[in-house]
Amino acid sequence: MTTPRRITPTNPPSPEYAFGYRHQPRSGNEINGLGEPDYRQPEHVFHNAGTEPIEWQALDDFFGNISPWPILRHVVANAWQLRNKDGRTARHRVTFDDEQSAAAEMKERARTLGAELVGITHVTDESLFAGHSVPYTHAISLGLSMDREEMAHVPQQRAAVEVLRVYRAISRTAIRLARQIRSLGWPARAYGNPNSTDVLHIPLAVSAGLGQLGKHGSVISKEFGSNVRLAAVLTTLPMATDQPVDIGVEDLCRKCRRCVVDCPPGAIFDEKQLVRGAEKWYVDFDKCIPYFVKTDGCAICIQVCPWSVPGRGPSLSDQLLAKRNS
């Protein structure tokens, strides 16, 4: 079978819902800080770990209950494997010549364990949910691409199963990498997805140079566009950090309207929004999430993104940067 080059969802379900809230919760956009001029850490709205109450918990629970079993099966299996996310650290500590060699070795190990994208950054407040703290200084952000042929079936169950399969796979990589780091005498913990209690994976990935934030609110990597899923390992192992990258996403997203046009509930803003003190691309939570629930996780926006076409990213980046500099 051939890999689809460009995905155009045919007849996606309408944004009309046979479910709703009798008592509408506080707007997710308000919780996310849309329009707020001052910086603050983000709060959980949807998809948390069940360890603290969240405003949209009823819809989250409903989503879990109407999700098909092939999806839930991956969620349960992923949660079970993540019981090994942390553990005892070896007493004998291995040291590295310098932070560069530590970073190089961890990246090599991550790739050997299956990660396709790897970057290292410091853990900062921006990558932690409000009220959460972690005893780690560095984060290794990990990315793994999804099967484009499976994802061509957005927004249907087949694509959703692929999303959960990749989450499970990249979580496994994070678990194994964290275990290896602990065996070297350094505390480390794996953070898998789709839910993690403490960290926000997208800010970590952007800061670690895996890609840039796209108009659709997801990371766009040079190699795979948005067709990736993320996990991370947090550790105290001192490593040289990467810098955020400029691959031309801003140049593309300012002009491209593909995700805006193809989003059935019209949740994607065409312009950057002020969110918790910063201008950034933002997706209207209150419009996006009901459709996400109705369609087993949607993902139309990340699949119609021109950058997600296999093999196109590197040349697209080169073209955009050349045009900017000409």
Partner: protein, 68 residues
């Protein structure tokens, strides 16, 4: 959907990990059982709402679960 991640904490010993694993197993088993029982009723009620043009209220318990 709810999952079962936990906040970062001090690294437990083998007994602590065993206890944590048992708690996790019970929670996942409960989640799966809930999906098969209450979830089945919710899926049916949602399907009925879809076919009849009604609305399933996610913040109201299913009638069968209301008195529990």
């Amino acid at each position: 959907m709810r999952t079962v991640d936990t906040p970062a904490e001090s690294h437990p010993g083998w007994l602590g990990r065993l206890q944590r694993d048992v708690r996790l197993f019970l929670r996942l088993a409960g989640m799966t059982l809930g999906y098969a029982t209450a979830g089945r009723r919710i899926r049916k009620a949602y399907r009925d709402a879809q076919s009849s043009g009604a609305v399933y209220w996610v913040d109201e318990p299913h009638p069968a679960d209301r008195d529990r």
